[in-house]
Amino acid sequence: MNKKEHFTRAIEENEGLIYKVTLLYTDSLQDREDLYQEIVFQLWKSYDSFDEFSKLSTWMYRVAMNTAIYNLKKNNRKVGTTTIDPMVERIAEHKDHSEDEKLKLLHDQIQKLNLLEKGIILLYLEGKSHDEIAEIIGITTSNVGTKISRIKKKLKSQINKN
């Protein structure tokens, strides 16, 4: 298998990962699509730097999340608190409105976190271990635990206010 075939396979196997990163770092469907393309482009550009011995998803999360930071809209670097509706419409195969509402609430509350907290909570929700989160983010494993507890409290208090 050549480089391009390897890359195509890697992308196809992890497109959900890329999509979920775009979901948390954009506030419109158009921006989401633009970021998606940009991430795939940056992954291709840095594919040579991927170390076969490290985990593919760790490398992908790093490139995807780093791209998302630099891709934040110039006038809205903090990311707004817009709805998740387009995403929900796209993925909802059923009409479970209460679940849609909860997803929207979750999305809106995550948008209120700062960029570091947002990155950590994304990986936490993705089911990554503290070690993996530490490796992707670049902090110690014990610090991951502390930060997750803080974010947990913050999100809880934000949600209770609603």
């Binding site: 979920k20 940009e38 940056q42 790093r62 780093n66 891709n71 570091l116 999100l155």
Partner: protein
Amino acid sequence: MELDEMKNLWEGMSNKVEKQELLTKDLIEKVTEEKYHSKLNKIRYSEMIGAIICYSGAIYLILNYMKIEPVAEKIFAVIAIGLLLTLPVISLRSLKGMQKLTISSKPYLDTLNDFGKRKVKFQRFQKLNVSLGLFLILIAIPVLSAIKGVNLSESEYFWTLTFPISVIAFLGFALWVLKSYHKSLEATEKLLSEINN
């Protein structure tokens, strides 16, 4: 909603996303065949248009320099030409510094720090640029009047009305613009301090 419930909700959404084919092979083809152009490093058209306008203004002033008679206006014209030539350089350089980057697989925190530092630098440059730009507008009035053959000091209301109102308007606008830049600079500095604590 508890965090565990959030996690379950996220998992449910993930499962649905995984089932969908989100990406067509066309995009991978485009990217791997170098047919895709990154939007990150593009200098925005508005900055380019701004630079063209500034250089056109500088050329106009140079061509009409001999028509300017009073010494004060001549000095203003020289300052205006200098600003018109310098402002686009400051603007484009700061933008380039913000945009010219290589996205790597370095840790997220390092990228956040780098992004924050670049942004603070960019916003400081922009503050300087806006101040100089507003000053340029102010000194352009007597210079353009001199080129058109109008002697502002002979105008009945120039010193009593036009000049003071212009200065007040200039200062008001400058303070308003700089305040908004200051707020955004503070937000970036806050982010940098938060992520490092």
